[in-house]
Symmetry: C2
Subunit: 682 residues, 2 copies
Amino acid sequence: MSVYLHDIPLSQAQERLRQALQEADLWRVLGVEEIPLDENALGRVTAEPIWAEVSSPHYHASAMDGFAVKAGDTNGAQPSSPIQLSVVSNRSSISNLQSPISQYVDTGDPLPGWANAVIPIENVESLDEHGEITSAIRSPASIRIRASVTPWSHVRPLGEDIVATQLVLPTGHVLRPADLGAIAASGHQTIKVARKPKVAILPTGTELVPIGSKLKAGDILEYNSLVIASQIKQMGGEPTRYPITKDDFDLICGRVQEAAQTHDLVLLNAGSSAGAEDFSSRVVEKLGTLLVHGVAVRPGHPVILGMINCQSKIENRKSDNLIPDTSHLTPIIGVPGYPVSAALTIDIFVEPLLAKWLGRRPLELPTEEATLTRKLVSPAGDDDFVRVAVGRVGDKLLAAPLSRGAGVITSLVQADGLALIPSGTQGMEAGEKVQVRLYRNKSEIEKTIFCIGSHDLTLDLIAQFLAEHDRRLASANVGSQGGLVALRRGEAHIAGSHLLDTQTGEYNISYIRQYMPNIPVKVVALVGRDQGLIVRKGNPKGIKSLGDLAGTGQGRGVQFVNRQRGAGTRVLLDYHLNLMTISPDSIAGYYQEEYTHLGVAAAVASERADCGLGVAAAAQALDLDFIPLFQERYDLVIPKLFADDDLLAPLFDLLADSRFQEAVSRLKGYDVSVMGNSILED
Amino acid sequence: MSVYLHDIPLSQAQERLRQALQEADLWRVLGVEEIPLDENALGRVTAEPIWAEVSSPHYHASAMDGFAVKAGDTNGAQPSSPIQLSVVSNRSSISNLQSPISQYVDTGDPLPGWANAVIPIENVESLDEHGEITSAIRSPASIRIRASVTPWSHVRPLGEDIVATQLVLPTGHVLRPADLGAIAASGHQTIKVARKPKVAILPTGTELVPIGSKLKAGDILEYNSLVIASQIKQMGGEPTRYPITKDDFDLICGRVQEAAQTHDLVLLNAGSSAGAEDFSSRVVEKLGTLLVHGVAVRPGHPVILGMINCQSKIENRKSDNLIPDTSHLTPIIGVPGYPVSAALTIDIFVEPLLAKWLGRRPLELPTEEATLTRKLVSPAGDDDFVRVAVGRVGDKLLAAPLSRGAGVITSLVQADGLALIPSGTQGMEAGEKVQVRLYRNKSEIEKTIFCIGSHDLTLDLIAQFLAEHDRRLASANVGSQGGLVALRRGEAHIAGSHLLDTQTGEYNISYIRQYMPNIPVKVVALVGRDQGLIVRKGNPKGIKSLGDLAGTGQGRGVQFVNRQRGAGTRVLLDYHLNLMTISPDSIAGYYQEEYTHLGVAAAVASERADCGLGVAAAAQALDLDFIPLFQERYDLVIPKLFADDDLLAPLFDLLADSRFQEAVSRLKGYDVSVMGNSILED
């Protein structure tokens, strides 16, 4: 059977894998092992129900420090007519003693056979042999009581906690600290748990180099196996990371066969190219059966599912596997090469499989409904998983889509959740409600400050410092004007803005009035900063001013890279081009847009452009030269609605924090003297 | 300074500890260690911000398999007027070649210096040297295209994911799988994390015996250290479990001193008696400073907080601690002996401390508002943490209080959350809203079947089997009538009932009409079962019938133990006593009540009573004898509202499952022939 790359729906792909595993008798708990009951049992999954061997307490125990009595002996005791009981030791033969009697017991002591209640020590008067109050309160000759007690009061009866034979925990329970205590209390010192599924991770690709390598163009750092191994570990499996295998068919076949014999699952992480996938599918076809090649899920498309034949597997596994494993098949999953696709493939296909093999419930992330901050387009045929930042702004829970690139691992790092655009829809509009599976719990999300607008390196420092004060900064870079629009829509708490009013020379205020009419705001200066031309080290093209950009200038063939429309830097450029009567069309690259200062610097560093307008810090970051041209002010704009909110308090504290100011002033071209100045307060 | 047992408010106790730690310069991250970037880094906490060393990608990379081109060369290409580009190899010297050119690239390959876009392979026609279509699609002589491309399309520009110098992760971040990938991608191969705080756990108490010991009366299994060590491990600390120390002042002092020198925190887990606490506080007073003795929190009261002096500590810690630790003090917490108190003390006092020492956020459980199912009384002065089962019944989220005994570890196992009754309130009424900190996520809670009413051992088996079908059974035993009342109030999905109508001889129906008027129900038979007298092995008192219970009978002095009012077994007893004209008052122990069959059996096993009426299975469970007297039917009562709910479907499936029926019929005195029979369907 040959299966060609043809995307099938997710549920169908999962079903094919499940069926193949069922046929191979692998759709079940793989094996059971008996482990000692210690803290390493934490997180393991019970493979059998746990029935109590003993009761707890296993005897009638005193629940207090006090005196054991027969309740009947205390009847009639009253404040005005006390009753006196002689005190016996636990070695006394009670047949020799006159009732009423009592005996001192500590908390946890067994009740004497003749007793059925305890009187707490603070409720008795301890008397010496002469009937006088004594300070030997725990060993008096007799006690006097002024109230009766009911039978079984202050006693923990046998079985109060656990009765022998009762069910303590069912099969498939993931063990938590208190569970271990209950298992111990019910008389066990070992526990039978599902053995950890062994998962082999095989990174393949001639272009891959190990973490820590010195990089040259075309090298790709192999860190997928690290992420996947961590995911497997977190899911309760036992990962093995194989070294990188080159794109050599026979080498890969050899490794897969070896891994399949000693593991329960093989993850073949191919390079991300279509060619590399074909390679993986041919390996699976040669060594076993290809079940699925391509799943209609985004990111993740080129997933491969199959079964590998391996005759000697039984031998290799027998030792640790109490449930006999009679299958000679090992499932294999071809995991796409792009890191986001790889990580989501593990979540979607491997997590439910490990759950089945461990006998536990599959992971279910808590789901909340959130409002989408921008339109999303999605292929109608795909289940599309979009990483989103989630935060509460006012009374709305917002989901702000992050980069959708399958190669952008930071989008997973920044994601607070996954929004699913199900197959059958072409996308969703801004403002629509979307179901988000949350990675963080809601209390963390409630402490997230949504920042939008113009990018400044200071925001990274703010994020770093806020983390120390129980706040998270989620920032999206949409340019200064975009930020003000987002504030008007109630989609962020603060916006960073450096919009020059070309009429007045003042920053931001006129734009705020225009884009956020009737919304009271507070505006605070964050930094003063240099704007200038970012050029390559040594400024090989000898650029000195904006005049050198124009084709009509000295004709040096300078390639420019611009910021996007609406960015404050773009406004500044246009303002000065206009002053200098330079036409945008005369500048090569004017319409080539980047969305951040660092994006501009990266374009210059990689020689995609000769220069761009930006801040000094961006040039410094990528070891480029910088030609300062103008100074500008970068403000934080905050709707009054949020300005007094507890959420933002640590941010305002930060602006007065000398440690923070120092960290900012260490960035080249930054002036912190304006920091915290009130620019506007409605 | 001497501090006597005097409960202070929780916040004040926490504040005293914080201040003492601050004075000792221990209210901070304890130390930093550099560890390799591998899957063991999972869950560790970043001790420094992580800034990117390299960009990712670190070159302009092709995002597709295809042909690199200059975008300008494609201008004007249209379906009707294609453009042809010659294909060069990456070894070609382009100065020799005629534009327009193209070059084959795999996904991830660097873009040639002259190119600025990629045309995916599926969008080109590959031609051989004669201009004919060729199947050598990756190595043609030239390509033909019928559409232009814009610059940078299908290219992952340098820094698309990460730009060198950007903040990748802030300090205090708990590492997840994707984070490890991002750290690797940004050029690191090691990472600086907070070192794990070392926590010593010292169980003390002469009455304690290790897990697995053969128990005699008065022995207490020492499993608190296991639970605490697991908690510490889960919180990111490194626990050391010391062996049990007897109640010997000098021995305990020695152990504490030793532990304080090599650990960051000492947890002294005393026996649970008031005497044992005094012991702990004297140890702390001798070796250092006693800060707090007694906190107004339930369960947990006798918490001790203090600081131990240890001169040689600095030496012992230097090796792994990059931040110099100049303190000669080690905090100590006296943890109460009762297991629930112990576990909650760790949650309340140790978790926030470890969070501080690790530099991460303290754990915050998600909180939901739920409706209390019964009245709770609470001392006004205490913060009272009540373990509750949480489930959704209809549209109400319910919190059903579990056992409040500090010795009942199973109450923690069964708890879905903690309801806080804050100090200042005397308790709460049934039906009041209460804030619950949830231990489980909501999807698990939504899969909980709330079962209430009469107890039957079959319910344990149902719980065990349902766990395999993605359902949890939370059962509360309040007797048959209590169950029907709870159903009427909408506080459970199902009730187990075996109420005999003494007029008609029929079970349950007349009671359902009486207690649940106007509520349509479905009633299904669960089992037929024997009821009889549970007596000690060998029946030493020779009991044969109910007649032997009465003092007016053969006068054997038989001590009876009864079920609570409203229990079906109690109804059955009263019915037959009435038939036999035996007065309840003539039965010794008639008013002595137990709430479950097993409770009755335990009372007999422990010789608290000679006999009780119950089911055979309970007698068998505790190895007792059983004298069958009557047969009865035990039904499940389900309001129609829930009967067709998806939630209950696996329960109905179970009644027809032969594996389940077999498991039930293995219990002595059970008859499964009626199982699943429809008794009533409104």
